[in-house]
């Protein structure tokens, strides 16, 4: 079950950057390796496998990257202030942690490097630490069918070295990532034992590193017909795009993420439906050194278009109220949360009375919720404790960039003991409930 959840919630798309990049003037960069002996590997393999990891990135022929191995040394622990790229194999405080194979730490100089029109932080130092509680094996050992749950050290080295160049993960967390091509990338965020696929970079990795160190282009939102560059907001949302590059783009093929496409170099597109949209563009460049280069540039979740709050399909309203225990009732919030960012406010109030007409400040009730009580609760689905038996109007306001909605239910509160598991529905209490949409514009919109 847990594994299924991990997969379901794990990432989705192509290459990414950490926001850091080496200044071309600082290349080739030097690197060292700690002389700690990792006893799960054959003698000498620590060096040869990590060197192979560095060399793997040179498959990106148009990326101008270079490095020099300075040899083994006796280094202490992570020190991202010495300006040296060091590979560590010892983690005495177990800070890398269970389930994590290796960590790359990077520090910027504070200066900014312009990469194809976008600002990146200039790298000053990166260190890589391998987890010393892993059974490591070489790529050859694994591919010769000698694997017994070991992890490919070259693959993890290639991945972490990618981070040290400024590469992020190929699939961002929080979105499904079930595309085999993307999971095959070296920069995919996880790897199983006996799996050597991360040893060699794939096309997705090549495109990502080429954007950082080669002839490439990016895009950005530019003012739309209303002069706005907003990428998050209520639908319809018009977003205009522009390609920036040192070499002028000679062609473009856009996919706006909602099914619409364009071949304009600077298109505008209007998003009419709620959603988080990834914008992708294939950009054609004619580079004097590399020749004709086409690569895809993706921006995951670049546009978030929101509509007024709605409730989940199948639900009968925005919320319901179930008896919990005594005079405490459990609210069940049905508001649709499928797009993160489209709901950013929730507020509950309780009024004495039995109809919409009773929703006045004079009838506002001081009730005890499961947070801090008072006349308003900002929890998503709180418990509400009514002060006495009787009829109440429970109001829920929700809102976000697409608008707000206010809804109410009338609850006949009856004090009684919990039924069954303690979260039973109270048909008697809810028998007289009515659910109506309200336009409670006068209610104060207040965030926690």
């Amino acid at each position: 079950m847990l594994a299924a959840l991990l997969l379901a919630s794990a990432p989705a798309l192509a290459w990414d950057h950490t926001g850091f990049v080496w200044n071309p003037e600082d290349l080739p960069r030097s690197w060292w390796m700690d002389d700690y002996v990792e006893d799960s590997l054959p003698e000498g393999a620590q060096e040869t496998e990590v060197i192979a990891g560095w060399e793997a990135w040179h498959a990106a022929e148009c990326a101008e990257i270079s490095e020099v191995y300075e040899g083994l040394g006796d280094f202490d622990s992570w020190d991202t202030s010495d300006g040296r790229t060091i590979i560590y194999w010892d983690d005495p405080s177990n800070e890398v942690g269970a389930g994590t194979l290796a960590v790359t730490r990077s520090v910027g100089s504070g200066r900014v490097v312009d990469v194809n029109g976008q600002n990146y932080s200039e790298l000053a130092d990166t260190d890589i630490t391998f987890n010393d509680n892993i059974d490591w094996a070489t790529k050859d050992q694994i591919e010769q069918n000698n694997c017994n749950n070991e992890t490919d050290v070259r693959g993890v080295a290639t991945h972490e070295i990618g981070h040290s160049w400024g590469m992020g993960h190929s699939c961002e967390q929080g979105v499904a990532c079930n595309d085999d091509d993307l999971q095959d990338a070296t920069m995919y965020w996880s790897v199983g034992s006996c799996d050597t696929h991360q040893s060699d970079i794939n096309q997705d990795d090549i495109e990502g590193i080429t954007v950082l160190y080669g002839p490439a282009a990016t895009f950005a939102a530019v003012p739309n017909s209303q002069g706005s560059t907003a990428r998050y907001g209520g639908a319809p949302l018009e977003v205009c795009f522009e390609i920036t590059a040192e070499i002028p783009a000679s062609g473009a093929d856009w996919n706006f993420g909602d099914g619409a496409t364009s071949t304009d170099l600077a298109p505008c597109h209007t998003y009419t439906e709620k959603g988080q949209y990834t914008v992708a563009v294939d950009i054609l460049l004619e580079d004097p050194a590399c020749g004709s280069v086409t690569f895809r540039y993706d921006e995951l979740g670049y546009v978030v278009a929101c509509e007024p709050p709605s409730f989940e399909p199948g639900a009968e309203g925005f919320f319901e109220v179930q008896h919990f225990d005594g005079l405490t009732y459990q609210t069940v919030n049905h508001t649709d949360l499928s797009v993160y960012g489209c709901v950013d406010m929730v507020a509950w109030q309780v009024y004495k009375g039995g109809s919409e007409a009773d929703v006045t400040e004079a009838n506002l009730v001081d009730f005890n919720g499961d947070v801090d009580g008072g006349t308003e609760l900002n929890a998503w689905s709180p418990k509400i404790t009514f002060p006495t038996e009787g009829s109440y109007v429970v109001v829920m306001n929700v809102g976000g960039p697409g608008g707000t909605a206010a809804n109410f239910l009338v609850v006949d509160a009856v004090e009684k003991r919990a039924e069954g598991s303690g979260c039973a529905t109270a048909p008697g209490a809810l028998g007289a409930v009515g659910g109506f949409a309200l336009a409670l514009a006068a209610l104060v919109r207040r965030r926690r």
Partner: protein, 207 residues
């Protein structure tokens, strides 16, 4: 490049901006339980960031433990995630677990070093948010992670589609069953056999 522009702005202000990135192992549900010193349910009561003596930034959350599902945890625990923002310096860490005050969580806690520092097993993979399933009012668990460049508010994290929702009860029963059964002696990436012996019952035949 996701939500990249604000990140760059922050970096531009930073004198020395660190970043971390990781590779995660793929753990089975039983391995997640075995690798955890404690599996608990609790409520987040405070969140803050600190910078250690080596310049590394850590995001921390104080959790009042409501129930322990594996081993008896202290009543209060501080759980750490690498990265975060500290005095204008942003350290972005992909896959870090995020926390928010009042958040109801289930944590697979992993001890760091010999003291009382705890992280989560497999970073965000070892943290769930507990919330009410709008379909039936029951308690379900949700995984969600977000870059430090975006504001995290547990109240508004997306619900999984109806067919993919996982009940709290199913996770708890699975953890309890594994904890009662014990470790099978098989290695788990990132944790020593000695430590696994210390924090787990041992299945018959396992030494």
């Amino acid at each position: 490049m996701r939500f990249f522009a604000p990140f760059v702005v922050l970096l531009g202000m930073a004198l020395s901006a660190p970043s971390e990135a990781t590779t995660l192992a793929r753990l089975t549900p039983d391995q997640m339980t075995d690798a955890a010193d404690y599996v608990v349910r609790g409520t987040v009561t405070a969140v803050w960031t600190e910078q250690d003596e080596r310049g590394n930034i850590w995001s921390k959350a104080r959790v009042d433990v409501v129930e322990s599902y594996k081993n008896d945890a202290p009543e209060q625990i501080v759980v750490e995630s690498p990265g975060g923002e500290y005095r204008g310096i942003l350290a972005e860490v992909a896959l870090a677990a995020r926390y928010d005050v009042d958040e109801d969580v289930v944590l697979f806690l992993s001890r760091m070093g010999a003291g009382d520092r705890f992280g989560t097993v497999a970073m965000y993979g070892g943290k769930y948010t507990v919330r009410t399933n709008p379909a039936d009012g029951s308690e379900m668990v949700v995984h969600f992670s977000l870059p430090y460049t975006r504001e995290y508010d547990h109240r508004f994290i997306p619900n999984p589609p109806a067919g993919q929702r996982v009940s709290l009860d199913s996770v708890v029963s699975q953890v309890r069953a594994r904890a009662a059964l014990g470790w099978d002696g098989q290695p788990i990436p990132g944790i020593s056999a000695d430590h696994l012996r210390t924090i787990n019952r041992l299945q018959p035949g396992v030494k």
